[in-house]
Amino acid sequence: MPAILTVDDSRAVRTIVGKQVKELGFDVLEAEDGVQGLEQLAQATVDLVLLDVTMPNMDGPTMLQKMREGGNQTPVIMLTSESKRSIVAGAMKMGISDYILKPFKPEELRQKVLSVLQGEPGGADVVQAEAPPMGGGATPATPDPTSGASPAGGRFVDIVVVDDMENVHKKLRSMLPGHISMNAHTSAQAALGACREKVYRVVLIDTEIPDVNSAVLAQQIRVLQPHAAMVALALRTSNDVTKEVREQGFDDVLFKPFRPETVDDFLLRYFDNQDFLQVEDNVLKVAAFSGKADRIERFYARLHGAFPAALEKVAAACYDEVVLDVGTPPLEGDRLPKFVLAVADKSKEFGMSLSLVGPADVRKVLGGYTETKDLKFFGSVPEARAGAAA
């Protein structure tokens, strides 16, 4: 088990530090000053020293100097109420790994102790560390040891919205299908916190958040969410906003105020047609329609665009039978029969027979059209599969 030596003339500080370090699973050794600290180092193997500056008998810088002169290169974190740059610069010359100003938060101590023991760069070196590229495929950032959950281990959420206006959250939520999950935050801080704990598919960031540079926030979130699409939320203006936000590192822009067609395009782009027409084995399942009447046309247009690829996938898996679970689609007009007929024709092209699954009212509608009234219809997917096997 790694051991940490805390050198501080304050018993209270040693106790607090010792408790927190033990919680991390490390052994703790204590010393009241530099003299005792050097004695401890001579007697035991230590992985890290937490060193105060001002102490009686021998201060921290002197102890550090004697350690290095004696060939002891044990990592040292300076933990002190001293903030004079000349003193810290002097300690840096002797190779301190990091610095913590008292009073400190437990998270800072834990994070810096773990970083040093894991050999990660600290201090100014971080500035020059290469940040992940703006495109996809970047390496995820090192999980924050204080967060309790890494991005990869977190819960998956489809969309996170960062906009200081709550009305924007509400409006967008009302325009998204129910199966699309969404988190919303009014501040950069809250969004960053969420991005440390969850995994998002799309991050929407307002370009005009008070007190925050949206481009920098996007960069920050990109580090935490390397695989998410970064989309700017911007007002429609005469300027070339799309070009502008792309130059800032965003992948795309979604304009406010939201319009049904642009939200649909956004969904189509980032959530693919699979969300509207899911494929499982030989079953094509149409997602529930939750929008307003003026979006029905687009709903069916999207299904028409999506089903050929879905059928091809089923055919490629060598199924003779395909099941179309239409769920509870909008029944106005002849859109549903036209869609079903198109699926039936395409299935035939692939050499597959089609079975339909849906509630009674759907059956009734389809039964009213010559082209669809003779198609096999079942109340559930198991029934359809059993019917196909019979």
Binding site: A131, P210, V216, V223
Partner: protein
């Protein structure tokens, strides 16, 4: 003339001019050109003007001076350019812009001096951007005021530079005499700018937190960890580390400032990694 003597004489001249309110305060060429564009556009609003002002420390300082009032005098209130612009009003602001556009900065015959001049401006804007982001991303403090404080922290440098350029023009064009090299030029600015900036800030009664940043104690304030001065001190070091700085940098001392600032302000390594990313691109082209 030695650097020391030139610095001393320049300081006397500048302090006198400040006291007599006879300081020549030019704008950077790119800003002057853009000002003319904005003034020609009848549809240009306060937002366009604010964007210009926030890119030029001298113009920002002049705007603040015009807006200085009892509301700002206490020093405890939020200080933003938007508030200052709103306080001034469109008419007075346009007057300021007309004046600023006419006072275009001289250009040096020495290309290295021109490069240094350009970097002086870029550094000021970079520190403004970083200071704002530092406070915004840590969720502490007044980030918009931090931008202004960062922008103005070295406001003495362009003031001294403008006088040096004026002297250069007189000596080389009028008297056909030689002029100092870029190293000496920077040394003179380094020796004089802080005192000039403080004199200017006090004469103009700029808000107290801004004056604190201009004074630059070089140490962090442990009692107010998220103060504007701490954000500017940290951002100044970050900008130097990122190479956006005219002059020599003591790398070890600068690294110490960053290391201390991380803990004082509470900057996580995740935030630190992204603060300077793309910074150069954001400040490039401001001067050209």
């Amino acid at each position: 003339m030695s650097v020391e003597k030139l610095s001393a004489e320049l300081e006397v001249i500048l302090v006198k001019r400040i006291q007599a309110d006879q300081l020549f305060l030019p704008s950077m060429p790119a800003v002057a050109t853009k000002i003319m564009e904005v003034l020609r556009d009848p549809d240009a609003g306060m937002k366009e003007v604010a964007k210009l002002v926030e890119k030029d420390p001298v113009l920002a300082a002049r705007t603040l001076r015009m807006a200085t009032s009892a509301a700002f005098a206490g020093g405890g209130k939020k200080i933003t350019l938007q508030e200052a612009l709103a306080r001034i009003g469109t008419k007075a602001l346009k007057g300021l812009l007309v004046e600023a556009s006419a006072q275009k900065l001289f250009v040096s015959r020495n290309p290295q001096i021109n490069d240094q001049l350009k970097t002086l401006w870029e550094h000021s804007v970079a520190v403004g951007i970083l200071a704002r982001d530092v406070l915004a991303l840590t969720g502490n403090g007044d980030s918009e005021s931090a931008y202004l404080a960062g922008l103005l922290h070295d406001v003495g440098k362009p003031v001294v530079a403008s006088v040096l350029l004026e002297l250069e023009r007189q000596l080389t064009e009028v008297y056909q005499k030689g002029w100092i090299d870029s190293g000496e030029w920077l040394a003179v600015i380094g020796a004089v700018h802080r005192k000039i900036a403080v004199a200017l800030a006090e004469k103009w009664q700029l808000p107290a937190p801004i004056v604190t940043c201009i004074k630059d104690s070089g140490e962090y304030d442990k009692g107010d960890r998220h103060s504007l001065a701490n954000a500017v001190c940290f951002s100044n070091a970050l900008s130097k580390k990122a190479g956006i700085y005219a002059g020599t940098v003591d790398a070890e001392d600068n690294d110490a400032v960053i290391m201390i600032g991380r803990s004082v302000i509470g900057i996580s390594d995740d935030i630190l990694r992204t603060l300077t990313k793309g910074l150069r691109e954001r400040v490039t082209g401001l001067y050209d």
